[in-house]
């Protein structure tokens, strides 16, 4: 009896999703599928690669268009665009040393991107990445400072757990407020960014302030032997490993598990999910918690591997860039890895642009803005060309 009702529920979900998909980005054009089904013919579907190609070709095309627009922008300001591109490429990927620097910046971006990429599958646009990162870093530091004589490994585990849980609770609260109180999640996450940053300022200026840090208010430093050590001879730290693992887990969770299926169902059609008996509230909160753990962990890594203490440098804009990564990668966690690496390279090249071309560091921000706008425009082009429609015989 129970199993049967479960089966019906699943069938209902499939039914609802099919309805929902047929009016958004359908894989089978109705005009083709419906007459074939009516005539009782067996449908032979060809290998499905066109949809996948579209999902790669459109963002790639968008990046090319943005490069052209950015080149025009450089040319309009009297710089040779090709020389600028060459500098970016050299500073980001030109040498092993440069690439290490790129990867160091890519690590927090990957983790922050997940904070937007996971909830958006629920239909929630959450931009609280910056706040979760800052809070994760702050809480991890507080715990780290409380364990001065513990072994490095146990300090790392405690800090990572605290950071991740702090970020997770912060974002889960946003999900809970959205579901149970109807508070707009975007505005809510924005306000909570400001609150988290204020908490950090308050903490590093009073509660845990190191009196020795005059110009740049900071917490007491984490002892050197308890810092996260770089990997081997490189400058790459554990953040990259965490980022890769988190993106992998997020992809598996979203695509291959019932949890991910429920999340995607809620995002596709929340009414259908409720009718099918999915407990929307707990799943929303849980997904938001998992999403928030990632920037929280990024904050911990920034403290334990890069900064050495909690200070205002935590609030360096990785969170906001993470939003861009999530949209560029079309919310695909594996795509986030690639885009984070590209964007990390771009961020790493800010100094080179200033040195070689006298371009202000805001140039990178302009480029990011252009890419963002073009990518959003490309969203409206899905399904526009027949070439990318899956064919059936």
């Amino acid at each position: 009896m129970v199993a049967d009702s479960g089966g019906t529920a699943r069938r209902r979900i499939c039914f609802c999703i099919q309805i929902d998909m047929s009016d958004s980005d359908s894989t089978v054009p109705e005009s083709v599928a419906a007459p074939a089904a009516k005539a009782g013919l067996r449908r032979i579907s060809l290998p499905r690669w066109r949809g996948k190609l579209e999902a790669v070709a459109l963002p790639a095309g968008a990046i090319v268009v943005s490069l052209v627009l950015f080149g025009l922008f450089c040319a309009a300001n009297g710089k040779n665009p090709f020389a600028v591109f060459a500098s970016i490429d050299k500073a980001a990927f030109g040498s092993w040393y440069a690439f290490q620097n790129t990867l160091v910046r890519a690590a927090p971006l990957m983790l922050c991107a997940l904070c937007t990429a996971i909830p958006i599958r629920l239909g929630l646009v959450i931009i609280g990445n910056e706040g979760a990162l800052v809070l994760g870093g702050l809480c991890a530091t507080i715990i780290g400072l409380k364990m001065p004589s513990a072994s490095p490994a146990s300090v790392h585990i405690a800090m990572a757990l605290t950071g991740a849980v702090a970020g997770g609770v912060w974002i889960a609260a946003i999900g809970a407020l959205k579901h149970y109180r109807g508070v707009n999640e975007t505005i809510c996450s924005l306000l909570m960014n400001y609150i988290a940053i204020a908490l950090l300022s308050q903490a590093v200026n009073t509660w845990i302030k190191d009196p020795a840090s005059l110009n740049k208010p900071s917490s007491y430093p984490i002892p050197d032997e308890q810092m996260l050590q770089p990997l081997g001879e490189t400058s790459i730290h554990w953040g990259l490993i965490f980022g890769l693992i988190a993106c992998g887990i997020a992809w598996f969770l979203m695509q291959k598990t019932t949890f991910g299926f429920k999340v995607r169902t809620i995002g596709a059609n929340i009414r259908a999910a409720q009718i099918a008996g999915i407990s929307v509230g707990p799943i929303t909160v849980m997904a938001c918690f998992l999403a928030g753990m990632c920037p929280g962990l990024a904050g911990m890594v920034e403290v334990a591997a890069v900064q050495g203490s909690a200070n205002e440098a935590l609030n360096a804009g990785y969170g906001y860039s993470g939003i861009l990564v999530a949209f560029l990668a079309r919310q695909n966690p594996l795509g986030c890895i690639l885009i984070s690496t590209l964007l990390g390279g771009l961020l790493a090249s800010g100094g080179a642009l200033q040195r070689d071309h006298q371009l202000p560091d805001a140039t990178i921000l302009v480029f990011e803005g252009i890419v963002f706008v073009v990518i959003l425009y490309s969203e409206s082009l899905y399904g526009r060309w027949r070439f990318f429609q899956e064919r059936t015989v």
């Binding site: 508070v183 204020a198 140039t363 990011e368 803005g369 969203e379 409206s380």
Partner: protein, 310 residues
């Protein structure tokens, strides 16, 4: 503006809050009126933060180059309209999320402003004039508090004018119809796209003027930290004031005053929670949103099509 309050002791706190309400509230007023108009037409413009920063930069630059601060205000409005036009065009494309467009426009607008604004961080641009309503008083603190920018009165007038516009004019009804029931508006023969485009562009014009106020009056200089997130807050303010322009005025004054609370308390020696006090407007907005929102019904006064993608 808060420095002279030292001599007043505790009396300085309400005075600083009052001064902050008018002085710091004016940019809130302009961006929230702009956002109110935009949201009444059924779209959200989160990108007003980018518009505000661009407005601040262009106003300062134009005022410096031309010597006329009022010309700077106009240029800021025009720059805002330009960004607004991009937002309007992009946000109305199918399958494009207007909130995401706003985030994109923030990085685009602020990127352009920082890029071209580097050259204008040092020089001093002519500032907007002020009405000295405190001439009768000998107290310098009171005098400083009563130096009020003409833009403030313009904003107050605009709030009431906009209220009248929505309630009593044909065009105001068009905007409300498009925001509430786009399909019905379309059936009436109203072009939803044009109404929304005009609303967003004019809303961004107001956002640009808010930016001009920041760089040409209070705090009165152009730096990369000129905006304290007033553009972000616009969206929260409009929810706070239930999509009513006159209530936007009261909410802006309230927020301006709340922003002045931290520095005012620090001036009288209460500095223990200075940084947390600075976040009080955000915490308060959040508290109000949690208290008044409900998952069962939409808020009173909320345009029907808002956030639905229609």
């Amino acid at each position: 503006m808060n420095q002279p309050t030292d001599q007043l002791g505790w009396l300085g706190v309400p005075l600083a809050i009052l001064a902050g309400a008018v002085g710091g509230g004016t940019p809130f007023l302009f961006v929230s009126l702009g956002e109110c108009l935009t949201e009444k037409s059924g779209k959200i413009n989160l990108g007003l933060e980018g518009v505000l920063i661009t407005g601040a930069m262009t106003a300062y630059a134009a005022s410096y180059k031309s010597g006329s601060p009022w010309f700077g205000v106009l240029v800021a409005g025009a720059a805002g309209m330009l960004l607004g036009f991009i937002h309007a065009w992009l946000a109305q494309k199918p399958k494009v999320n207007d909130i995401a467009v706003g985030i994109g426009m923030i990085s685009f607008g602020s990127g352009l402003a920082f890029f071209f604004g580097k050259a204008f961080i040092q020089p001093l641009a002519p500032q907007l004039p002020s009405f000295d309503l405190g001439g009768w008083s000998a107290n310098p603190a009171l005098k400083a508090a009563l130096k009020i920018c003409p833009l403030f009165f313009l904003g107050v007038g605009l709030a009431f004018a906009m209220d009248w516009f929505f309630k009593s004019t044909r065009w105001g009804m068009f905007v409300r119809a498009v925001g509430d029931k786009p399909d019905a508006a379309r059936a009436m023969g109203i072009s939803v796209t044009s109404v929304r485009t005009l609303s967003i562009v004019f809303g961004s014009f107001l956002g640009g003027i808010g930016g001009a106020y920041l760089s040409l009056f209070y705090p009165g200089s152009w730096t990369e930290r000129v905006s304290g997130g007033q553009g972000f807050m616009a969206v929260a303010l409009v929810i706070f004031s239930r999509w009513n322009p006159v209530q936007c005025l009261w909410a802006s004054l309230f927020f301006g005053g709340a922003q002045a609370l931290g520095p005012a308390l620090q001036a009288v020696g209460v500095s223990g929670y200075y940084y947390l006090f600075n976040a009080s407007p955000y915490a308060f907005t959040l508290a109000v949103m949690i208290a008044t929102c409900s998952s069962k019904r939409s808020l009173a006064g909320q345009p029907g099509a808002l956030g639905s993608g229609a």
